[in-house]
Subunit: 199 residues, 2 copies
């Protein structure tokens, strides 16, 4: 498959998931979002599951590339950038795509291929937070008693919860963001450093 064809299929899959959700999605829905026929899709992929595994790998590649070098001069800025990236306002509940992702996550216990990729997302994010926090403790912008593992796990789990609460109970992303920024200001950033909530 050419890179162009692969890109087109991935873009079409994204649109189709947004429109149709995960459970009802068919290969035809994906074909309808692209210039390819359903049989062309079947030429490249064994079926919906195989295509969605490739789609998760595609998202994972993009996610890892995006978070590999967080923007910002200081650990405080870099940590804030990372949280903002995860809570990107473009990715709303109404979008439908986040909902489809939650549906895929709900399949993970029955689905080794999904689970493996979802674990990689999780580990990529946690290890990035962990290194930023470790760097902040090292250079003194974060409190000396902050444990990078504890903070990374708290932030990663919290952000997972933000998405689920947003999708399931309509809880505002902005309010959830404010709570984690305040936590970082109060308990992670050293008292004489610039606070995360400062604009």
């Amino acid at each position: 498959m050419t890179t162009d064809a692969a890109d087109e299929i991935m873009t079409a899959t994204h649109s189709a998931l947004r429109t149709c959700g995960y459970a009802e999605l068919t290969m035809q829905d994906i074909a309808d979002e692209s210039d390819l026929s359903k049989s062309a899709l079947h030429y490249h992929f064994d079926g919906k599951h195989d295509l969605l595994v490739s789609f998760l790998e595609h998202l994972l590649d993009r996610f890892e590339a995006r978070i590999t070098d967080p923007e910002g001069e200081t650990p405080v800025e870099r940590l804030r950038w990372l949280v903002e990236t995860i809570l990107a306002p473009g990715e709303r509940r109404s979008d439908g795509f986040q909902t489809a992702l939650l549906e895929i996550q709900a399949q993970a216990p029955h689905d080794e291929a999904y689970r493996e990729r979802l674990e990689q997302f999780d580990e990529a994010f946690v290890s990035q937070v962990r290194s930023i926090v470790a760097a902040g403790v090292e250079d003194g912008t974060f409190r000396a008693d902050v444990d990078p593992d504890q903070t990374a796990s708290l932030v990663a789990t919290y952000l997972k919860g933000v998405r689920t609460r947003h999708v399931a109970a309509g809880h505002s992303l902005e309010r959830s963001a404010a709570v984690i920024y305040r936590h970082i200001d109060d308990h992670v950033v050293a008292e004489d450093s610039t606070v995360v909530t400062a604009e």
Copy 2:
């Protein structure tokens, strides 16, 4: 419908969700888990959706009854009991029921009836945490500078994330629990109070 029949249907729905998941669930699956026929179920409920809305209400009633008076003498004990109740070890990923609940949560943006009940779960839990934290600040077992709203939102969102990370990425419930207990010890409980992690 008699209370016994209603209880039997709710128990059967719980078993059927655990076994079949949400997406594939049929009225026949629920009937198979009970002594009632499929037509008896249809006599009481318009269909799967109607039955599942009643099931969510049934879970909500039980949840509210369970958390209305957390066990423990002190706010520290009561907060710990509440967190433990949410992370109850009986409710594992392998159980299948938690996965089905996540599938239902993923439907909420398209489904007003689910969403309304899920918002009630969320609000019931948040307000219970908020009152325990306020009581702890009041009686001095929690730090004077703890904000009950901030803490309740952090804990509720974190615990939502624990479930999602457990289902989607297999993250250990015990490790997630340890992180929130440590947060409570380090940042919520007053320094001269009994720590939450003490057994």
